[in-house]
Amino acid sequence: MITLRDVSKTYHRKKISTEALKKINLQIEKGDIFGVIGYSGAGKSTLVRLVNYLERPTSGEITVDGKHLAELNPHNLREIKKEIGMIFQQFNLLESKTIFQNVAMPLILAKTNKQVIQERVTELLAFVGLADKAASYPSELSGGQKQRVGIARALASKPKILLCDEATSALDPQTTQSILDLLKKVNEEYGITILLITHEMAVIQQICNKVAVMEEGNIIEKGSVVSVFGKPKHPTTKGFVQTVVKNELPFSIKTKLKKNQQQKLYRLDMIGDHTMESIFYYLFHTFQLQVTVVFTNMTEIQDSVLAVWYIQVEGEERNKQQAWSFLVENQVNVEEITI
């Protein structure tokens, strides 16, 4: 749906040039909810603004829905923008217009017939749960409601893609949740591909199926959300993952363990739906091991579960080795931990 090939963007301001993006390669498939995460200044906004050509790349190639953006004339470029909806952190609604008029705006620009506008806007306001606010003005709405209007407006021209630049960053956690649920509904009911920018890993965790991590204009890691959350490689990614996946040994437990350090500590990591109970059953019965769980955590990601177990084990060394092989065969990562 969206492809970026070797895309770079350099800004020139007052003789200072900033390399906002450095040879980015990215592929977003139809139906994806693709999350891009990174710290401030990483180049995330620049990246989305390239997809609807609000900004032109310095070099590289961008294709949207099979069309090379660089080859389109201004008219065709405006046409393709109608297939790409966008929502913003600050909502960017017209304060001087009613909610109805705001949502109708893309249709008015396309010179749609009044009757059709009436029907479409009514339908969209119902979809985002604001049917009763048609005649209100943006200043009379809460942040969450304003973002719903933004979403309805972005959907008015029946886009194939929705771009969200920090769409929930100005909202409280509960409102964020409801907006994310709405975005998921947009993805599922209309089949719209979503490219979402955020600096909160929790947002990625809740709705994305794929993620790219950005740092200083580079994509340092990308993949399915389950795999990136399960096995983050880059330190920055690890930092982001740890904000939602609490899989490190808590400090209080560490200090307790340090006091009596006779026993070895193992960390078991697993992704997926096979239950831990059966694994403990095998450790106990087949391998005759005595297991003490020191700490555990499970985090739900997509339809999967990330689980981590810190255990101490008593038993024969030979059995232990066999048990570890068995675990690895069952996609459980085993690691000896030194505190």
Binding site: L54, L77, M86, F88, L93, S96, M105, L109, S157
Partner: protein
Amino acid sequence: MFDTSITFGQFIQAIIDTLYMVGMSLLVGTIIGLILGILIVVTRPSGVVEMKWIYGILNPIINIVRSVPFIILLVAIIPFTRGIVGTSIGTTAAIVPLIIFISPFIARLVENSLLEVNPGIIEAAEAMGATPFQVIWYFVLPEAFGSLILSLTTATISLIGATAMAGTVGGGGVGDLAIVYGYQRFDTFAMVSTVIILITFVQVIQSIGNALARLIRRN
């Protein structure tokens, strides 16, 4: 106190003359000022349709005209005025310099009002695939409307001040009455009453402007 040489008829005529000069020059000046103001906003660097040469010509012209004091402008363009309205004296003739005086002023006020519009709104418009004309017409102008009304109120009040000087070319009007009778002939009644009329004008116009702007902005 009531020892005055102005007749009631002169008062009425002066008020009519002032309203005529202010009204006409405001009408034409608003049209020119809006066009110029919009042009310098859209053509400026990083504007909606960046065109450096248009901006580079208009911007200094506006500054130059604005820096000429009205009284000098009035005299300096007499040949031009005569060329346009056939005479350089009288109420109609006064309208020409008034328009030249007020248009660049309105252009600057319009520029300020349009630049105040949240850039995010323009970004949203461009993301929707709006043409440059649509960006201005459907997004920037409606958002700036309240502010534009206040700008025009300010321009109207400046015009009332300028019409007083238009008396110099026989423009007439309330300000002229104040200068000719009140100031030059020491007619206290003329002085006080014309000043009261001017104050009333300014007050009424400012109140109307504020009320309209509030209505548009709805707060």
